[in-house]
Each structure stands twice: as structure tokens, then as C-alpha cells.
Amino acid sequence: MKRTILLADMNAFYASVTQVLEPQLLGKPLLIAGNPEKRHGIILTASYEAKKRGVKTGMPIWEAQIYCPQAILRPPNYPAFLDFSYRVLQILQDFSPLVEPYSIDEAFIDLTGTETLWGPPLQVGRTIKKRIKEEIGILCSVGIGPSKAIAKMAADLQKPDGLVLLSEQDLPQRLWPLPIDNLFGVGQRMKKHLYNMGIRTIGDLAQTPVELLTQRFGRVGTRLHEFAHGRDSSPVDPHALDKVKSIGHQITLPHDYTKKEAIKIVLLELAEAVCRRARLSNYQGKTVSLYVRGNDFSDLNRSASLHEPTAYPPAVYHLALKLFQQYWFPNKPVRLLGISLSNLTCSKYQQLSLFAPEEKLYTAIDEIKNKFGEKSLLRGSFLLEEGVFYNDEKY
């Protein structure tokens, strides 16, 4: 059956929410960015007023200020962003039970079969835009198409405040002339690979024999070719985000770390944070992944598995440290560290253990933290200069 999928993409979401909360900022160039002192000072979102002057997401603050000196800076207010995101989802759920939150500011809605209720898709798009603008106060771009991939690309065609409907027949004319990184699923790295093959536009990719792409990129290659032709059978899954696949944390260090002792403290902080979150949602994980970024922006991503699933920091920390020592060049400066726990199981069933002091210890720690807050009980080493999670009193 022919499907009708709609994607609603909130425009400059972090900036728009901040402007709703502080109406005096409306119509002014606004930058949402992290704390520059801790080197989190990159632009997370710029309002359209700032974007017009050349500010782009991901720029460091100082560079953005060259383009737009009068811009107003605000730190991200994540609780408010989550709250607004949730309210948008509630509006969308009025139109179909099949709503898939795709990220904090985007959601897919499967409108198949709702025509008699809400009218033709373009009309639904207009109604959704109107309601989000009136009830929440922010603008969004809506893309409509026969698949998730097409809806997403349609939404990207007109920003801000767009409304685009694409059918499969429109693709050669509207999408194929666009640069390849406009294709759903193509990031910077994939763009480079495709450029090396002489593929510059979505059309180029669509005309490339699928065998060649599959041979070069495996299943990903096949999928990209399908997307270029607008074929994407993946369903809109309202529970896509319910199944947690991994729990992770990463942090940019306030300055590049080279000393192993300092890196160990941050790894322990990360392991504690990840495990605490796992325990709060009753998960245990078996696979530990370590993510390291060097001062030259080189990446390292390595995973290893534990003997049995855990939600306690010692095992996670030891494995992460082992991965670090095994794969990172000694003394190479580190800019960013991250740990994530995956291969998760729900700890409804829990094998009990002998001689396992961690179980009792962390039950007690959790009770204290639940009652008195996350900062009520810390390891001493976290308060050292090298600690990054709890040394933020200045900010």
C-alpha cells in the first residue's frame, strides 16, 4: 500500500525555545553554546537571525562572533528543550498513533489512511505547523513523502518554516541535482568516500550500479542507493526510542590531557555516570565502548565485552582503561573521552553473587544519591583539578 509519511523538523530548536522563554530575544541573533572556559564553546544552535549572517552549527563561539558580533549568548537549557519536545510530540499524536520521535527536534508521523479524518497531506502539514506555532510558539519545516527517507529530504528542502510534498516521480527533478550530502544517511565521511568515486550529486548515486555500491560499502551502500531512488520500507516505529540500545557519556576536557593519572580520573567519572544511569533504568550492559578524540581530532572507537552484564563502575572502568592503554598512543594528548555501555539486558532477573561488595555498596550509594542529589556523594579523586564532572561550580 502506498504510504504517506510526514516529518516535522523544528527550526533552530534550541534557539527557538530559548526565545519563547525569553520573549525579549525574539527577532535577535541568538547563539546557544556550551561553556567556552571548559572548551564546550561551540555553537549548538544559532537562531535564523544569526544564521543569516553566516553562523553555522558547530562553529566555535569566537568564530561566530566574528560573523555576528552583536549576537546574544545563552547556555543550553536541556530540561526546557525536553519539555518542549514532549509537547510537540503530543500535538503530533493527535493526528496519528504512529509517531516516531527521531531526535529531540524531529519526529516522523505515518498519516496513511487518515485522509478522510484530516484531509489531504498538505492540509495536515499546514494544520500541524499552525498548531505548533500557536500552541508552542515555534516554527517547523514539514516534509511529506511516500517513505521516511523522502519525507526527511523534503523537509530539508525548505527552511525555515517550510512545507514540501515530494512524490517518487519528483525525485529526478527536485532531489537528484542536489549535492550528495543532502541524501538521507550521508555524513561527512561517506561524502568523502563518494567524492573519491566521482559521485557528487544524489543523481550520480542513483545512476551508479547498485552492485558497485554494495561491493564498496556493504549493506550501507545498498541502502543509500535505495534512498536515492526514494525507496525506504522502514516503518514509523512509535517505540523506536523506548528500547534503549546503549547508555553513554562523553565529555570534552577543559584542556588536552596527556597524563595517564588524569585520564584515569575522567574514565572513572564516566564509568560512574554511565553505571548510575544504567542502574536507575534497571539495565545491565555487557559491552563497554571507549571513545577518544585526540588534540588533532583523530578518533578512536573500541569495544570489548565483559564476562557477564554489569551496572557497577569497577568492571566498566577497568575494561575502558584496558582499551585505552591498548589502543591509544601513550602520551598522545586527549581532547575528548567517552564511555558507553551496550548489549543491554533488563535486570528483571538478577543472578546473585557471593563476595561481591559492589552490590551492597552501590545500593547504599544509590539510596543516598536519590535522597540528597547526585553531588551528595563523590569519590575524592573527582574533586581533584583533573576531575571534569563536578568541578563546575564556577559556571
Binding site: H307, A315, T345, Y349, Q350, L352, L354
Partner: protein, 366 residues
């Protein structure tokens, strides 16, 4: 060096030392076997620096000497040789000629100077135990050792000696096995040490002749086992084994007597439904004289009922089925007892009318 030996004897030698050959070492010499001819015997030695094994076989000696051969190639060659007399001769210092029937192989060898010396085993407390008894003890407890190198102590077996009594304890923190045995020659002072479980498994494999006596020597950080013509040396694990006595309950609320084979087969069938689940759990319920073993997953569900004898309260508990099947394999009696104190407390399994073995298994909270 030049000798003549049977294929059978050569094969015995290479397979005995095989487990001590390192297979991933950065030191190439540790992936080798040392061959040494002395006193009418051919000695095979190998070590990965954690375990060392030496064994000897009778051969016909022309000239004495020694050489180092790459274990993988030499073992493969020996395995494929015909059942006949084999002549080994070292020529030009670095070439071993292997002659059989009308054929000849030349294998390049390493210099013996770099091969690590097996530690001297003279010092230490001397003990003796029947090889058959040692083998049985090892087999009843070694499976409960942990494989997790993060807590190395639990990859080992705690041995406690008092007079002529030997106690072996192993645990991976989810279950614990304890076995008592008798030494032929004990120690004057109480003694306790931890031997890597892997090495005991290998020792058990090496015990072929049950009439042998195993001579142990325990020093500060080394253990050696001498069996007829095989010598095993290993490093002891350092550290303090936790107090296992503390975790073994002294009382129970219900004690069940069951048939080992019946229950084992029932658990094996029912556990098919927990094969792919995260915890491999089977649930057990005891009411009056009936034990119900139950399991369910997305694939389906099933239960079995078997008759048992129960003195005490009804029971409801869940276990990892693997931990149950493991112990059923080594229980040497037709019947066993299992004691319970609650659904979150360990179950204690003992063979019937035999109190030298105990297996503690912690439940799964469900």
C-alpha cells in the same frame, strides 16, 4: 644428539607438554619445545612462564645433547609419522633430521641458550596424594572456577591442608564447590595456597595411570606436581581468598532428596526454553513430595514434575540452569540432597550419604 624412539613415545611427549606451549607469546622461544637427551631418556619441556611441563620417555641413545624445536611443526610432524621407529639427529647445530623407514625430514631448530630454565623445585613443603584421588577432586571442583581475569583469585582453586586433610574450594562468585580429600603424606603445619584452575584441569588430563602417586612440593610462590614421568610446575596465585566458610549456611528450612539422573534430565529438557534468554533461568517449586521445574521465554514454555522427598517448608526459587547441570555431571551418587533457606539464599547440594563434597549455588532474583 642422536636417538631412536617409537612414534608412540614421541607422541606421548609432545602431547604431554602441549598445554605449556605458549600460542600467542611475543617471545618466539616460548612457542617451542625443548628436547634433551640424558641418561637413556628423551626429555620434553615447554613453558609459557606461567606453567612449565616436563616429561620423559625411554629412547635408544646414540649421543646425548639438546635442541629447541618449534612446537607446532614438530607436533604436527610427530602426529603424522608412521607407526615405526623414528631416528632424530641434530646436525650442523641448527637442523634436526627426522628419519623414518626410507624417508627423511629436516626441521630447522632454535638455539637452546635462550630457552627459559624451569624453576628449581627442591625447596618447599612435600606432600603426597594418590593420583586417582587428586584427579577426582579436581574434576569435582574445577568447573566452578571463574574465567574472569579481572578477579584473578577466583580463577584459582584454594587448597587448604591440615595434617593429612586436603580441602579444595573454587568459586566464580555465583556458585562455590568444596571438596575434601586425604593426603598420603600431609604437612606438619596448616598450609593454604591458590593454584590456577587451568593448571589443575591440565594436571587432571595428564593423570592417566590411576595407580600413580602424585608428589607435590609447595614453596612460597611455586607448586610442582610430579607424576611418574611428568613434572608440572606453576606459579601460585597471590592474594587472600575470601572467607568461604562465612557464606555456607549452617541451617536450612527445607531439605530435599532427589534422583540425580531424573532431575538432571528434566532440567536439561526444560532449559531448552531458557537457552537464548539473558539469564538462563529455570524456576523450581517444591510442594509436598513434588518438584516442579518450569521455564518460559518468547519461544514457549514447559514444566516437568518429579517425585522427591521433602522435609520442611515448600520452596520457590530460580537458578541458572547451567550451574545445576554442571554439578549434576560430577555428583557421583544416584541420589543427592539440596537444602534451601529462602528464595534469595543459596541452595546447598550434597551427594547422599557422602559429606566430602558440597556445592553452593546462588539463586536468580526474579
Amino acid at each position: 644428539m642422536k636417538i631412536t624412539a617409537t612414534k608412540e613415545n614421541l607422541l606421548f611427549g609432545v602431547s604431554a607438554v602441549q598445554k605449556a606451549v605458549s600460542n600467542k607469546s611475543t617471545l618466539p622461544i616460548l612457542t617451542c619445545i625443548k628436547l634433551e637427551v640424558q641418561n637413556e631418556k628423551l626429555y620434553f619441556s615447554a613453558t609459557d612462564l606461567e606453567i612449565g611441563i616436563q616429561c620423559h620417555v625411554p629412547v635408544e641413545v646414540v649421543t646425548e645433547g639438546m635442541t629447541i624445536v618449534p612446537a607446532k611443526y614438530f607436533s604436527e610432524i610427530v602426529r603424522k609419522l608412521p607407526d615405526s621407529l623414528i631416528t632424530l639427529e641434530l646436525v650442523n647445530e641448527h637442523e634436526l633430521i627426522i628419519e623414518y623407514e626410507k624417508s627423511q625430514l629436516n626441521l630447522k631448530t632454535f638455539s637452546p641458550d635462550d630457552f627459559p630454565q624451569l624453576p628449581d623445585v627442591e625447596a618447599g613443603v612435600k606432600l603426597e596424594i594418590s593420583a586417582a584421588e587428586l584427579k577426582q577432586m579436581i574434576n569435582q571442583i574445577v568447573f566452578a572456577c571463574s574465567m574472569d581475569e579481572r578477579r584473578p583469585l577466583f580463577t584459582g582453586v584454594l587448597c587448604e591442608i591440615e595434617n593429612k586433610q586436603l580441602k579444595m574450594v573454587s568459586t566464580d562468585t555465583h556458585r562455590l564447590a568444596l571438596k575434601q580429600g586425604k593426603l598420603k603424606k600431609g604437612a606438619k603445619k596448616p598450609l593454604s595456597f591458590i593454584i590456577p584452575g587451568k593448571i589443575l584441569s591440565e594436571l587432571s588430563r595428564l593423570i592417566q595411570n590411576e595407580e600413580d602417586i602424585c608428589y607435590l612440593s609447595i614453596s612460597e610462590n611455586l607448586a610442582t606436581f610430579l607424576l611418574d614421568n611428568i613434572l608440572v610446575v606453576c606459579r601460585l596465585l597471590e592474594g587472600q581468598f575470601p572467607n568461604y566458610r562465612q557464606v555456607i549456611p549452617t541451617q536450612y528450612n527445607s531439605k530435599i532428596k532427589a534422583n540425580t539422573k531424573l532431575l538432571s534430565e528434566a532440567v536439561e529438557r526444560i532449559s531448552l526454553f531458557s537457552l537464548n534468554s539473558d539469564t538462563n533461568t529455570v524456576q523450581i517449586k517444591v510442594e509436598d513430595n513434588l518438584m516442579i521445574i518450569f521455564s518460559q521465554s518468547e519461544l514457549g514454555q514447559g514444566y516437568e514434575q518429579i517425585f522427591i522427598e521433602n522435609e520442611g517448608e515448600p520452596v520457590e526459587i530460580a537458578f541458572n540452569y547451567r550451574y545445576l547441570l554442571d554439578v549434576f555431571k560430577v555428583l557421583a551418587t544416584d541420589f543427592f540432597t539440596i537444602e534451601f533457606t529462602g528464595s534469595l539464599s543459596p541452595g546447598i547440594i550434597r551427594p547422599l550419604e557422602n559429606d566430602d563434597f558440597l556445592y553452593l549455588i546462588l539463586p536468580v532474583r526474579s
